[in-house]
């Protein structure tokens, strides 16, 4: 059987075989102590995004702190690449010994801003590239997408059905992303168990309802067991008639002071119209306490429109439109060399190829504020004195954790606080707004100089 499951100890092999081959060349050429600095950033925002939400850092940090090749991995390397004993010894003892600076998770970021900078011995720095790119991409894609949805939903609470994602791990990532950006209902028993969260009481299903001779019998049975929790589907057969049955049964049970499901759910047809009718009829029959959940293939554009049309929703629950982020399912996260440190001396490096330029030097991002609102970001050199909040913070120093990793709830609080400091037009889902990001004069100067040096050294120009 093809085993698709990936466990944490497998991750050192989530890399390219070439990185091990090149590592052995560095080692044999006596270059293993050469340090390098890499920037992790995105060159362009996707067309449908005004901002991105940085996410995935926690996993990267744990991966780096626990980095170690297993016995099986070492024997695979030996067998596959035939490395000499000295190289094998190096790989056996390999741990991450570098420095990581990063934006805190939940930070908003923009094109060309490093979200992480990593300084490490060159062999380590290359081996970790793929996992870091993968992590930053998938977490950021999903957090950014769900962020748009939650903001568009406004006062209405949000939930997520995680079933249709690109794999179960992607489902899990979308659930964590949802929490970070404030979606309320995002759980799955397997995660609740693992993370000791409240169990997901969940709803009923069309199949459950269909298994009874009548809708009413199904509802009466469900009500008997639901202990005043859970939700009821109205449109197994006909939503309008399903609502009548619910109201009849629920009012009767309420009178008798018995339990009934506190939520009703529509998942097909004209959701706005149905929710309005339901709200009116529920209120009229003294069922004001029953909340309405609308579930369908919702996304930020649909909930915005539904809010404008006056949908009477207490909850919007979305699915694959969020968990696969179809309007921006990928992000070209890159990992680019910005300096090589030889004998303690940094040599700035950059890429010059067409459309793929990167900036040299050890960088910092400065976020400037004006009248209480963020006005622009400056990408400069770490050594520069530029006003504004420094976004890149030390996370790992010489392989040791130097940062208190926040919980998803703390990340969410930070995200909400930060978000309010940006102008609200940044969060428009249909208008393109571009937040200002500038390169500092010092960095611009270093870029010019590095370009010239590279041309001179390599091409005698």
């Amino acid at each position: 059987m093809f085993d698709e499951f990936v466990e944490k100890e497998d991750l050192p092999f989530y890399t390219s075989g070439a990185c091990f081959v090149l590592g052995s060349i560095y080692f044999q050429e006596g270059m293993k102590d050469l340090w390098v600095t890499y920037d992790v950033f995105v060159r362009d925002l996707p067309e449908n995004r005004n901002y991105l939400v940085f996410s995935g850092l926690e996993n990267i940090i744990h991966y780096l702190l626990d980095y170690k090749l297993t016995k099986d991995q070492l024997s695979y390397l030996k067998k596959s690449y035939g490395f000499p004993p000295a190289v094998m010894k190096y790989y056996r003892q390999l741990r991450f010994s570098g420095n990581v600076w990063a934006m805190p998770e939940g930070s908003l970021f923009f094109a060309n801003e490093p979200v992480m900078t990593i300084s490490a011995p060159i062999i380590e720095a290359q081996l970790i590239e793929r996992f870091i790119i993968n992590r930053v991409m998938v977490y950021t894609v999903l957090a950014s997408k769900i962020s748009r949805f939650v903001i568009a939903a406004g006062q209405v609470s949000c939930g997520l059905n995680y079933t249709r994602a690109q794999g179960i791990e992607a489902s899990n990532i979308s659930l964590r992303s949802a929490k970070i950006v404030g979606a309320k209902m995002a759980s799955i028993p397997y995660i609740s168990q693992k993370h000791k969260l409240k169990p997901d009481s969940g709803g009923t299903t069309h199949a459950y309802i269909s298994s009874f001779p009548t809708e009413e019998a199904a509802l009466r049975t469900y009500a008997k067991y639901c202990r005043g929790k859970g939700l009821w589907l109205l449109d197994t057969y006909d939503a309008k008639k399903g609502l009548d049955i619910f109201i009849k049964v629920a009012s009767e049970l309420k009178k008798k002071k018995k339990f009934y499901p506190p939520y009703v759910l529509f998942d097909s047809g004209d959701l706005v119209k149905q929710s309005k009718v339901a709200r009116k009829l529920l209120d009229r029959t003294n069922l004001k306490d029953v909340k309405i959940m609308l579930l369908s293939n919702l996304n930020e554009h649909r909930v915005k429109k539904m809010n404008q049309q006056g949908a009477a929703a207490d909850y919007y629950v979305a699915g694959e439109e969020l968990t696969t982020s179809p309007d921006a399912p990928k992000l070209s996260v890159v990992y680019k060399l910005s300096e090589v440190i030889k004998n303690g001396q940094p040599i700035p490096k950059m890429k010059l190829s067409v459309g793929k330029v990167s900036l040299p030097g050890k960088k910092q991002v400065f976020r400037q504020i004006k009248n209480g609102r963020y006005s622009k970001d400056i990408v400069g050199l770490e050594a520069e004195k530029i006003k504004g909040q420094r976004l890149l913070l030390p996370m790992i120093e010489k392989g040791k954790l130097r940062y208190n990793l926040p919980t998803p709830e703390e990340i969410n609080r930070r995200y909400e606080k930060e978000r309010k400091k940006f102008f609200s037009n940044l969060f428009s889902i249909s208008h393109k707004t571009s937040y200002q990001v500038k390169i500092s004069p010092e960095l611009a100067k270093l870029t010019q100089k590095t370009k010239k040096t590279i041309y001179k050294v390599h091409y005698d120009l």
């Binding site: 497998d10 092999f13 075989g17 794999g167 489902s171 993370h195 299903t205 298994s211 197994t236 047809g269």
Partner: protein
């Protein structure tokens, strides 16, 4: 720490709490022997697809055969849902005891065709739904995308995929399996090589490797020393045309000295077509005909088609996130719908009537019909119907036991290749929409009519 990794054992709780809760109610109400048949299908073809490739059966089968709740999961259920002893006893003995019929992996399929038909006790059928849908969607989305990519590349050209930018490492694994099942040539990563005994990835050089040397030439000389005549060289770390000149100079010299040099060169930025043409010409002139050209970038079937029109010369083409995330169709609305209920000896056809979410009742089969050696039409009918054509749904699991031998990846690829050849080539056009005919049999249509009336009558006394 938030742990997103999941093991096979944990999958039994990859479900909705609602399913577990309603399962408990059904046990308490004595309904655990009520069986149901569910069809897994998609209602619509994504706008930019002519066909879909079914994949993900193997992981689903593996999951079903191993499904059970372990001690820790049972304790969680007890604590979280406060089930009675009777319900807990039911979950302790919980296994998949149903039947699974499915299309073989690598089969092409179309909307409203069940790719799987699962007949099982309703409680089981509900609990497995989430994982089944997740697996079938993720595998089929990525396999279909990889299939389009391979079809866009002319025969004789090597294809490759870089798996980094996927929706997590597990999605990378799914993409890698997808690539192999439709015949991508270069699909390897050490993590999956080790776990699944696949080929070793030989790999290339990186821009960082080149940058870490004082000059490009020096980096190339060191790399040549170790490459044993394999491996590939990047030309565009600084300037691709100057990089090409350096490569030719060093490779010619090493060739004369009968020393190894990298046998492939790669462009990954700028105008790939133009650069590939110049490189081929200059390499040939310098007596380096054996050096192969790799084009790697954010390639997909659309770009490949366009690059052919512009006269690209490549020996190898390699794609990345455009294939591993399938941005033009990153999702598929796979659904699991109840088509009949079995209560003892009574079989009651079921269907969904809600707006835009229609499903068909009854135990179904898909019949694929051939005319002049080519497939020309599918009929979705009832299993017991006598319709000409190949039956696509095959028995995989019966009463919880595997009744067939699941094919290895190479076998899946062979099946896929053989099937593709039987469809009209027009179906594989990258840019043209072609609709393959898939019809509902008259008997199924009339059962749907009858079921609709019966439901309306039973529930609303019309």
């Amino acid at each position: 720490m938030f742990n997103e990794f999941i093991t096979q054992e944990e999958l039994s709780l990859f479900t909705s709490g609602g399913f577990i809760a309603t399962g408990g109610m059904m046990v308490s109400e004595g309904m655990q022997n009520l069986w149901g048949t569910h069809d897994i299908f998609v209602r619509e073809m994504p706008a930019c697809r002519n066909y879909l490739v079914f994949a993900g059966l193997e992981p689903v089968v593996d999951y079903l055969l191993n499904l059970k709740f372990d001690q820790a999961q049972l304790e969680y259920l007890k604590k979280g849902y406060n089930f009675s002893d009777e319900v807990m006893e039911y979950y302790r003995n919980f296994r998949f005891t149903g039947d699974l019929y499915a299309m073989p992996e690598g089969s092409l399929f179309f909307p409203y065709q069940p790719v799987m038909r699962i007949c099982a006790p309703l409680i089981e059928a509900q609990i497995i739904e989430r994982y089944v849908l997740n697996a079938v969607m993720a595998y089929s989305v990525l396999t279909t995308k990889m299939s389009r990519f391979v079809h866009s590349v002319k025969p004789g050209i090597t294809t490759g995929v870089n798996f980094i930018r996927a929706h997590g490492p597990q999605a990378s694994a799914i993409a890698l399996r997808a690539a192999k099942s439709v015949g991508v040539d270069l699909a390897a990563m050490p993590i999956f090589g080790l776990r699944n005994n696949l080929e070793v990835e030989k790999g290339a050089v990186t821009h960082s490797f080149i940058s870490s040397f004082a000059t490009e030439e020096q980096a190339l000389r060191v790399f040549s020393k170790y490459c044993r005549g394999r491996g590939l060289w990047l030309l565009d770390t600084y300037d691709s045309m100057k990089g090409l000149a350096i490569f030719i100079k060093v490779a010619k010299e090493l060739k004369k000295q009968k020393k190894p040099f990298p046998n492939m060169i790669q462009f990954d930025s700028g105008d790939l077509v133009k650069q590939s043409k110049i490189a081929r010409k200059k390499l040939d002139q310098a007596g380096l005909k054996e050096v192969k050209i790799i084009l790697i970038s954010n390639l997909d079937e659309y770009k490949i088609t366009k690059m052919y029109k512009q006269g690209m010369i490549a020996d190898v083409v390699v794609g990345g996130e455009e294939l591993t995330t399938s941005p033009d169709a990153p999702k598929l609305g796979f659904v699991s719908k109840l088509s009949e209920m079995i209560d003892g000896s009574a079989v009651i056809p079921k269907m969904k009537l809600s707006e835009g979410k229609l499903s068909y009742p009854g135990k179904k089969q898909v019949f694929r019909q051939t005319k002049d050696g080519k497939y020309f039409r599918d009929i979705v009918g009832l299993d017991e119907e006598k319709i000409s054509g190949k039956k696509l749904l095959m028995p995989i699991i019966k009463k919880g036991k595997l009744v067939c031998k699941l094919p290895a990846l190479q076998k899946i690829n062979q099946h896929y290749q053989a099937e593709c050849k039987k469809f009209s080539p027009a179906l594989f056009a990258v840019n043209q929409r072609v609709k393959y005919s898939s019809e509902i049999s008259p008997a199924l249509k009339s059962l749907a009519q009858k079921t609709k009336l019966a439901i309306a009558k039973a529930h609303y006394e019309l």
